[in-house]
Symmetry: C2
Subunit: 258 residues, 2 copies
Amino acid sequence: MRRGTVVIIGSGNVAGALCRWIPRAGYSVAQVFARNVESGTRLAQAAGCAYESDPSRLAPADIYIISVSDKAVAEVCKTLDFGDSVVVHTSGGCGIDCLSPSAKNRGVIYPLQTFSAGCDLNFREIPLFIEASDEATLARIGELARAMSDSVRECNSEQRCKLHVAAVFACNFVNRLYCTADALMRENGFDFSLLKPLIGETARKAMQSDSPQSLQTGPAARKDWNTIARHLEILKNNPQLTEIYKLLTINIIHGNNG
Amino acid sequence: MRRGTVVIIGSGNVAGALCRWIPRAGYSVAQVFARNVESGTRLAQAAGCAYESDPSRLAPADIYIISVSDKAVAEVCKTLDFGDSVVVHTSGGCGIDCLSPSAKNRGVIYPLQTFSAGCDLNFREIPLFIEASDEATLARIGELARAMSDSVRECNSEQRCKLHVAAVFACNFVNRLYCTADALMRENGFDFSLLKPLIGETARKAMQSDSPQSLQTGPAARKDWNTIARHLEILKNNPQLTEIYKLLTINIIHGNNG
């Protein structure tokens, strides 16, 4: 039983993940619509559907999913005629109104996850945050979301923007700290790989905890000023790292996130 | 065949991990020496040896391992008579000379890992960085380290202090970002658990990569100023988070760690 047809618009990593998961959720992918011929064709092949880039040849579908960069959502939307079908985007940073006025029945399915090319994540575990322009649209978006994931919640555009900030801290900024640690290792002639057990264990501990606050260790948590002073001495030739070190140290000491 | 006897000094998480791993490495634990009666006794029971807190009753041993807080290393060392035995500490932040002059044959075994109470990490995968006062001591410390771990490297006190800074970024500061993300989730009425798939995947990607630099995503990496401005608007009532957001964003854009 096919629950409905979906057209995926975009050919990035989220679009790629959706092309793999939507068929498993009992929906059929009618078309991959994307500007980039190469990645669009590859995704369409993987999903067993047609590739298209001409707006006049957009396939009919029950649901259109726009998975393009935040900047491009509104632009893409303007060029396409969705009729009365449901249109969603998957962006954390865009409000639902990026889709108006082109999309009458509009909504959002925001997956709180980071996607890489070719990485086959288990979508059932990915938290999906949904929003819709009206109750009937919400029902249809909810049906699709729950067919893909066991973790579906409603959230409005304002809340989603805050979730997006949370994701920037937990993912983008965390990765930046990995980069900093990597650079410090390399200055010693040591390899990034030597940090991997520590990175893995730090994440594992957080994932087994109800609150990462209780896990905080290190010189700042101990208010070990001697060690902090030695670390700042080591970083003194890098003003940016010195500032980041100071700010995060103060932030740990104050324990203030609110 | 017992390779030698070890006395563990301290009863914290590193001491606890050593009490489990040293017997598996073919050494015997002769005594757990610690100020804290409760945790010291528990560790000694687990290691099947005696507990002691009286400096005059320190057991004879081939190697003494001091696993106490950075601040306490020098202090503890002064109160004990090690004779000609090898004495090491396990601290990233302390130089080898924290152990002098009490310890004639001294060194360091620094595990680049975060330790929790009761957590049975696989020590064979933990990178150990060793240093010693002389070649003969280095040989004996190296033998113990290699009996515990497959990843043993030499590093001097200056390098180790930089490794310690790297660990602060990759572990303590990363955990602080998890806390920040947690707080932002809770402001929305959402649970920390919803961040766990993202935290896990972010760490997993880094652990499968040679360089986290190549994995950097998010608004800063895309120079998506609209999104950055929206995020700063959301954070405007929290000056500390605003500063952290700005600094890490600038740091990602400049790509400057060196």
